[in-house]
């Protein structure tokens, strides 16, 4: 761990001023990911700007859109009454992440920005294009059991490890970002990116920008939903594969569907073609299986993660089945 400076501010403007001036400065929120990265020598910031005291912790419903401050803790968000009532899918996803202790300090913005858990990324003596562009990918011919099957590139096959983001992408959330030039909004599904030839860049947030909010439109996906997380132990483990599934069922037919997966790509992976397929169909096992097969088009595995080709469609079917059975 290197020596670093620690600054704290209560004003958003000051935070932005501090970060823009200094290429070696980073924001610190809950610190649950950043500190680990610093301990392992993966992140070597010289200045930490503590944003925990910025006024970005409110959760409010405005014109049927839930506005969530980026510094809301994962626990506070999961326990918020509107989330419980309107976005129980998000609640389940949040609760399946990390441990209670971590969720208490982990923030919404930090969760989106957390880096991959790829073991090669965390060991600075190993090759990793994401950590050290051009050094090679340790995982592609190594231990890649946890790695991606969609949207991979020759330079990186890592996954984004978040659960929360899988629900948010399924729910069609938006990300509000503040930079020096003002505010901009990105669709949640466009926030994270695929590795391509620049795996060192996880997402489309620019240097010097701050995530201030996420916005989730009320959409009626609060009856038939499920977040299924398949993992190596019952709690406190990252997903092998996870599925966020939500259906709107009218007169026995699916009128609208949302599906997204975690643990399969460099970003939360929305399955729009499967969603489209399900619309207007009955919630039968056969239809769920067909939707799952559609989702697997273009999947590619790397040896240790071959099982995901079977687990992913199975998990989709299971999540849809449970979602449907809720009433």
């Amino acid at each position: 761990m290197i020596n670093f400076q620690y600054l704290r501010t209560t004003a958003v403007k000051t935070a932005l001023n501090l970060i823009v001036k200094d290429p070696k400065a980073v924001f610190i929120a809950g610190g649950t990911n950043l500190i680990d990265l610093m301990k392992r020598g993966v992140a070597t910031p010289e200045k930490l700007i503590d944003i925990n005291h910025l006024p970005l912790k409110d959760i409010e419903l405005v014109n049927n859109v839930l506005q969530v401050g980026a510094l809301t803790s994962n626990t506070a968000l999961a326990e918020h009454i509107t989330v419980k009532q309107q976005f129980p899918l998000l609640m389940l996803a949040l609760q399946s992440g990390a441990s209670a202790q971590l969720r208490n300090v982990a923030t919404v913005g930090g969760n989106m920005m957390q880096r991959t858990r790829c073991g090669y990324f965390y060991d600075i003596t190993m090759p990793c294009n994401k950590r050290e562009p051009g050094s090679g990918c340790g995982a592609i011919n190594g231990y890649n059991r946890m790695h991606a099957i969609f949207g991979t590139s020759e330079s990186c096959i890592a996954v984004h490890p978040s659960d929360m983001c899988v629900a948010l992408v399924a729910l069609g959330a938006q990300v509000v970002i503040l930079g020096h030039k003002g505010e901009r909004k990105i669709n949640f599904s466009d926030f994270h990116r695929l590795p391509g030839t620049t795996p060192e860049t996880d997402n489309n947030l620019r240097k010097g920008e701050l995530i201030t909010k996420i916005q989730i439109p009320i959409n009626g996906f609060n009856q038939n939903y499920h977040y299924l997380k398949v993992r190596d132990r019952s709690s406190y483990a990252f997903a092998l594969v996870s599925v966020a599934a939500a259906l709107i069922i009218k007169n026995g037919l699916i009128s609208d569907a949302r599906l997204a997966m975690g643990g399969v790509a460099h970003k939360p992976w929305r399955l729009t073609s499967s969603e489209d397929f399900l619309k207007g169909k009955a919630g039968t096992t056969a239809n769920f299986e067909a939707a799952a097969q559609l989702a697997m088009k273009d999947a590619k595995s790397f040896g240790e993660n071959d099982f995901k080709l079977k687990l992913a469609p199975n998990a989709i079917v299971e999540a849809l089945t449970i979602a449907k059975s809720k009433s």
Partner: protein
């Protein structure tokens, strides 16, 4: 729970009132005299662990480790580190501090900072000492090492079949009757079972505080399973008299075997303190816990099992390979239980180790036997299935009357009763003979059973007892408590013998100046030290009786009155106790039978252990609560071994890639169902005055086999490679 009766000293066998003859201990016991004597201290933070000792002028060490797997160090550039704030020194082989013992002895164990040799990746090669931990950590990151790399081999799996890779005999080959008799049997099973490297990883990180008080006197605060063993090692390495070394280790935050030796990192710290003439503390990091303090070796085991169509075993062959290191060898009892567990005329075993360029392994709870039991007990289940027999009936049918390997009787063995009780408790009658035929929603349900066994031993130990006129008793012995509740067990033995309430008894341990006792390992502490406590109490009791008689007091007079009448503030006795000669005529073992129910998800392959019944046949139970805790802890460890524990080493680099608690999985609460513990609780007539046999190891041994067998019963899928993760189920 049945109430514990404190009876007089002559009838240890009546300690429990038992309606049905067995001692069931329920989940939430009321607080009573069976509580851990140090429980309150532990949960309130009063218990002090080695790293918590604040010595004046304490300095902090941080290790620099090798990033290559094999070769030589060309140079260690410490300039930047030495100039960093707060740094006192950087020790390495480049400035090789004088260590008298290093000059005389052979090559093993590894002499830290002695040569430029790199034996494995993550080997400690320098120690930075600074006035704060953070400064030492930063300075360690500034040390630059250049290497000359050599080709290496860490690949256990491919080494087994590679004839160019050296294999060492781990134990002499064993043969009874015909070799490989299974091959000509009417029914045979021939399979390979594998296990990955597991790491002990107790919560408490390893380390030591060393403080040379004079040039030839050192005090250490250690994390050790044996204060006397640590004392002896230090004496040997630094060539100073044993009595000049004080080892303190009152509380240990988990050992599981990894604290059974003094590791090079501890020697390095003692060296640094000597050189700097300052107390030095070293606490290693979690990732270093994977490379510096041993591990359960990976294993590859072939089992051949033959039986008649009627289900009588006719031959067992067990050939095992274990992982070891190039710079030190490590062997364990992987094939031990195969030799005597089943009634077979023909048995042959062999065990090899493969020296690899990795850190040396060490015993991990249920050492060797836990590895062996997984293979043997899986094969037994496979055979029962092949015979279309209930695996319980098959085991009972082949349960030997005596130890055929040693040709002598067992001192005590009640495993048929254990099978019966456990089966009843888990609801074995609900088990289906046809695998995959019991369904609960999306889950398949199965039942499995397995046996565990471990040598019940008794060593030699001394205990001092001081009985005081104020009604209290102090007992002292240089034994350890790595968690099982040593003090609690000893206190209960004394309390019953002398009829003194437990809160008037103090048992002191973890201090090398106390009367000697062996290290805590191999489930022998209660048997060994408990016997000495017994002898001390018997002796104190007869002294009091004599004093009472001499002073014309009633034979039942309380010892406080007897002492007062005789004007004695206290009486004192030290006793050494060891196994009796008769023990040689018997095979002494503790047994456990593990029953589990599992649920396996049909679509995701997730396995959940949904019920556990562990039955212990380990003689008389002295301390019911801590004994139960041992069994529960073993079951939790067993769930980890069966379903999740695996240290992953990338053979291209020789480095572990999941060396942290997020990625190296051990069970969390949600993985652990209610665990039912049943004790047979019948005294062993031979082993010791309490009739109690050890049980720390049997709590784990066999458990993983029971899970694998239950998974087969649930799904029809036989997973022969641990851990049983969802991917293996889906791909089977």
């Amino acid at each position: 729970m049945e109430k514990l009766l404190l009876t007089d000293e002559t009838s240890m066998n009546q300690v429990f009132t038992e309606k049905d003859g067995y001692n069931h201990v329920s989940f939430l016991d009321a607080i009573d005299e069976n509580d851990r004597v140090d429980g309150v201290a532990k949960v309130t933070g009063k218990a002090k662990y080695f790293a918590e000792y604040q010595l004046p002028g304490l300095t902090y060490g941080v290790l620099v480790t090798s990033t290559i797997t094999k070769g030589k160090i060309v140079d260690i550039d410490t300039k930047a580190a030495k100039n960093a704030p707060g740094v006192l020194d950087v020790l390495s082989h480049m400035n090789k501090p004088a260590v008298a013992g290093y000059e005389q002895e052979g090559g093993s164990p590894m002499k830290i900072f002695y040569t430029d040799q790199i034996f494995y990746n993550g080997q400690p090669i320098a120690l930075v000492v600074a006035n704060t931990f953070e400064r030492a950590t930063y300075a360690a990151s500034l040390v630059k090492v250049s290497y000359h790399k050599e080709a290496f081999n860490t690949d256990f799996k491919s080494s087994i079949k590679d004839e160019k890779v050296k294999k060492l005999q781990g134990q002499p080959p064993y043969k009874r009757g015909m070799e490989d008799a299974y091959k000509t049997a009417e029914v045979k099973v021939e399979q390979v079972y594998t296990m990955p490297v597991e790491t002990h990883n107790p919560m408490e990180l390893h380390g030591i505080i060393a403080d040379w008080r004079t040039n030839d006197q050192v005090t250490v605060y250690a994390k050790t399973q044996g204060v006397k063993a640590t004392q002896n090692t230090i004496a040997n390495v630094f060539k100073i008299p044993v009595e000049n070394i004080q080892v303190n280790s009152e509380f240990v935050g988990g050992g599981f075997g990894m604290a059974l030796r003094t590791w090079p990192l501890e020697i390095a710290t003692i060296m640094a303190s000597k050189q700097l003439k300052k107390p030095v503390k070293l606490v290693i990091t979690r990732d270093q816990m994977f490379t510096m303090v041993g591990n359960r070796p990976a294993a590859y085991q072939k089992i051949g099992l033959g039986a008649t169509k009627e289900g009588k075993i006719t031959g067992i062959t067990h050939i095992a390979f274990g992982q070891s290191a190039t710079y030190e060898n490590f062997t364990e009892g992987v094939v031990n239980m195969t030799k005597f567990m089943y009634d077979s005329e023909n048995v042959n075993t062999n065990y090899y180790v493969i020296p690899l360029d990795m850190g040396v392994p060490i015993w991990m709870r249920g050492p060797g036997e836990a590895t062996g039991a997984f293979a043997l007990e899986s094969a037994i289940d496979e055979m029962a299935h092949a015979l279309n027999m209930d695996p319980l009936d098959f085991r009972i049918k082949n349960d030997p009357e005596k130890d055929l390997a040693q040709n002598r009787p067992f001192s005590s063995k009640y495993i048929k009763e254990a099978y019966r009780l456990g089966a009843e408790q888990i609801g074995w009658k609900n088990r289906k003979m046809i695998p995959g035929s019991l369904i609960d929603g999306s889950w398949q349900v199965g039942y499995g059973v397995s046996i565990g066994v471990f040598n019940a031993s008794r060593g030699r130990a001394s205990v001092k007892g001081i009985l005081k006129a104020d009604g209290t008793l102090v007992l002292q012995s240089a034994t350890s408590d790595i968690g099982p509740g040593t003090g609690t067990g000893m206190t209960l033995i004394a309390s019953r013998l002398l009829n003194i309430p437990v809160d008037k008894i103090v048992f002191e341990l973890g201090d090398s100046s106390l009367p000697p006792a062996p290290s805590q390992g191999g489930s022998a502490t209660l048997s060994t030290v408990g016997s000495a406590v017994n002898d001390v109490c018997v002796s104190l009791k007869s002294t009091i009786a004599e004093l009472a008689a001499n002073s014309n007091m009633d034979a039942h007079a309380h010892f406080t009155e007897v002492l007062k009448k005789n004007n004695l503030p206290m009486i004192e006795v030290t006793k050494q106790s060891q196994a009796n000669a008769e023990a040689k005529n018997y095979s002494m073992y503790s047994f456990s039978i593990h029953f589990v129910q599992v649920k396996v998800h049909q679509l995701t392959g997730v396995v959940k252990v949904s019920k556990v019944v562990s039955v212990g046949d380990s003689g008389k139970i002295v301390s019911p609560k801590t004994a139960r805790s041992q069994m529960v802890g073993g079951a939790v460890g067993g769930i980890g071994m069966a379903l999740m524990e695996e240290a992953l080493l990338d053979n291209r680099y020789g480095r572990y890639i999941n060396n942290n608690f997020a990625d190296y999985h051990v069970p969390v609460h949600a993985d652990v169902p209610e665990i039912d513990v049943i004790f047979i609780d019948k005294a062993d007539p031979i082993i010791n005055p309490m009739g109690a046999k050890g049980m720390g190891e049997i709590a784990l041994i066999g458990f993983a086999g029971a899970v694998a067998n239950a998974v087969f019963n649930a799904t029809g899928k036989r997973i022969r490679s641990l851990p049983i993760t969802p991917d293996k189920i889906l791909q089977a």
